[in-house]
């Protein structure tokens, strides 16, 4: 088992390394020479050009450049923004909390909301609650984040005025209030998917014989549901976690743009417009790293959720 975890960690490191290499090499893959690409035809002072060459070590051989860049990244130094002329790390750091708060808020909604209504529907199969959930999740799943953002903004912000349309707010309460619509917009379609998967997974589990064993031992129904039905349903539910995490990351960019939140996503978009490539590289690397780490965590947890995978291939 330890070997499985180690292998996953090794794979994680390998993918991160390769991804970082790709992101680094993007400067070369892009059309034109690295310098001209980075400067994008802006007229800048020779000092700036020199600074760029230094930052990217463009005078060194390719692999040395990569090595130095990587070393910088691991130290937390992502270079300097061409547009803002300040450290990229500083820029990123000031925005991370918004994106993190948004994504975690949405993730919480998905977990509690999605799994919750899926479980409710499964336990009350055929009843009104179940039918309601079926319809609701189908509707929700058809609303990707930008559509959900628009609809929620129109209904709750413009018409009802319950929530603000733009901005990320300050302070804990203010932030939560400001991030509520964006988080819901981000989470909506995934709540639909997770709800349905949970429901069908639990319906599957409810038919299993070991659930009957649990009942035959005199456990209350909710104990049986918790210890055996929901617990085992986690297996199929966790298999879609990768998609959901990817969707959260992509969706965060969209939602931040739609609600004018000053998070990493909107910074990324802004940087594309202003052609501030060091920032693009940094944020891309961070998002990819978060994604890959999240998936690895799920993979490792999966072994605890389903010990049977240890029989095949893991040892």
């Amino acid at each position: 088992m330890i070997r499985y975890v180690l292998r996953r960690l090794l794979a994680l490191a390998a993918v991160l390394l390769a991804a970082s290499f790709l992101i680094f090499a993007a400067v070369y893959i892009a059309p034109g020479s690295p310098e001209s690409f980075l400067l994008q035809g802006k007229t800048v002072s020779p000092a700036t050009v020199h600074a760029i060459r230094e930052q990217y070590h463009l005078n060194d051989p390719f692999l040395v450049q990569y090595q130095k860049w990587l070393e910088g990244v691991l130290r937390g130094d992502f270079g300097r923004s061409i547009v803002f002329r300040q450290s990229v790390a500083g820029l990123v750091w000031s925005r991370v909390s918004v994106t993190a708060a948004l994504t975690l808020y949405a993730a919480l909604l998905i977990l509690i909301g999605g799994v919750g209504i899926g479980a409710l529907a499964a336990v009350r199969r055929g009843a009104v609650a179940d039918k309601g959930v079926l319809i609701g999740t189908s509707a929700a799943a058809a609303m990707p984040s930008f559509v959900a953002a628009i609809v929620l903004a129109i209904v709750f912000a413009v018409h009802l005025g319950w929530f603000p349309v733009f901005g990320s707010g300050s302070g804990v309460g203010g932030t939560v209030w400001h991030l509520t619509l964006p988080a819901f917009a981000l989470a909506l379609s995934w709540v639909g998917l997770v709800g349905r998967v949970t429901r069908s997974a639990m319906l599957d589990e409810l038919r299993r014989e070991y659930v009957e064993t649990g009942r035959s031992r005199g456990f209350q129904e909710r104990v049986v549901i918790r210890r055996h039905v929901l617990r085992n349903a986690l297996i199929p539910i966790s298999t879609i976690s990768g998609i959901v995490v990817a969707g959260l990351i992509s969706g965060a960019v969209v939602v931040e743009s739609a609600f004018a939140l000053n998070g990493l996503g909107s910074l990324l978009l802004q940087s594309v417009t202003t052609k501030d490539f060091p920032v693009i590289q940094a944020i891309s690397l961070i998002l990819v790293a978060v994604f890959v780490i999240a998936n690895t965590v799920v993979d490792v947890l999966y072994v605890f959720i389903d010990p049977r995978v240890r029989i095949g291939g893991a040892r």
Binding site: E209, T213, R215, S216, R217, G218, F219, R227, H228, P307
Partner: protein
């Protein structure tokens, strides 16, 4: 005479199937005393598993139950679902047929064994683990401490069945309902499991209902045997007597259809037709379509069977086997 531990009288069960209620059990009466092993024998669809579930209160919602289920003097049919559930905690225990399907594959054996103790009976972790180890040794599993941390996939079917029995005994039940506990196992393992069950019966005074489709097996281990067909009891006798001299045509046919080890080889004698469930029963005696002795009177006969230790549900039993009837006092039929 003290009341039997389990006293089922005229139990009838109907299950909801696609908006209608279908009978699955009719007029089932069984009694089990403490320390007694009663066999319930029948083919698929006969209702034997359903009987056990009805006793334990594990029928699906919407099931209609009529008749009497007496446990230790109390009437289970009058209790609400929650009260019956509490009885399942430590008075009535069940053992099922396919242990691998009936034990949660993603939890450890120790978890399975101690679950009920810890959650229902609030036994502390260390005590529960100790108890679990003792039980595993009692059912013949060596190295119990290691077993506790293993997962079901690491154990064989026979071992898992022992674990299931151990878990059932952990709560010190008074009545054990064993639904085909050895069907999924090899013959040699079967014998070991049966020996364990027998030992429990004798040492703990456990009352057991042993459900099987194997008449021969039941005859070997049970004190009494009830034979079921189409949701009804068709015959009940002390085991040895049933084996030597089955009286109901169905029981006789079952006995005859066993392959013989001795004697000259001959074609297997099969009962023509297929076994039916209660709701498929024709008017009159449910076995009539397949019975070699069927006559007109069988179609008009309202099937019933008097409760008692020796009984046969056949309207023609007296004429078919008069000598046997005469020699058994208190026998009623027809």
């Amino acid at each position: 005479m003290s009341a039997p531990l389990l006293d089922v009288r005229s139990l009838a069960v109907e299950l909801p199937v696609r908006r209608e209620l279908r009978p699955v059990l009719a007029d089932v009466s069984i009694a089990v005393d403490a320390g007694e092993m009663v066999g319930l024998v029948g083919e698929s669809g006969s209702g034997k598993s359903m009987t056990a579930r009805a006793i334990a209160g594990l029928l699906p919602p919407g099931a209609r139950v009529s008749g009497e289920i007496g446990f230790d003097g109390r009437s289970l049919t009058e209790l609400d679902r929650d009260a019956v559930r509490r009885l399942r905690v430590s008075d009535i225990a069940m053992v099922f047929q396919d242990p691998r399907a009936h034990i949660n594959p993603v939890r450890r054996i120790g978890d399975y064994l101690c679950e009920s103790l810890r959650i229902n009976l609030h036994v502390g972790r260390r005590d529960a683990t100790e108890l679990a180890c003792d039980l595993l040794q009692r059912v013949g599993l060596p190295d119990p401490t290691r077993r506790l941390s293993q997962y079901p996939y690491e154990l064989s079917g026979g071992m898992l069945q022992r674990v299931m029995i151990a878990a059932a005994l952990a709560v010190k039940p008074r009545l054990l309902l064993a639904d085909e506990p050895t069907t999924a196992l090899d013959v040699t393992v079967q014998a070991e499991i049966l020996a364990i069950l027998d030992q429990m019966r004798r040492e703990d005074g456990l009352g057991m209902l042993f459900i099987t489709h194997d008449l021969e097996l039941a005859a070997a281990v049970c004190d009494r045997i009830c034979v079921m067909y189409a949701g009804r009891i068709v015959e009940e006798q002390p085991a040895a007597r049933l084996y030597a001299r089955p009286r109901h045509p169905y029981t006789q046919a079952l006995m005859q259809s066993r392959p013989q080890l001795e004697g000259p080889a001959h074609d297997l004698h099969a009962i023509p037709g297929v076994p039916i469930s209660a709701y498929e029963a024709p008017p009159g005696c449910p076995f009539r379509p397949r019975c070699p002795y069927a006559q007109e009177v069988c179609e008009r006969w309202e099937p019933h069977i008097e409760p008692g230790p020796t009984r046969v549900a056949c309207v023609r039993v007296d004429e078919l086997d008069p000598a046997a009837s005469a020699s058994i006092p208190g026998l009623t039929g027809g």
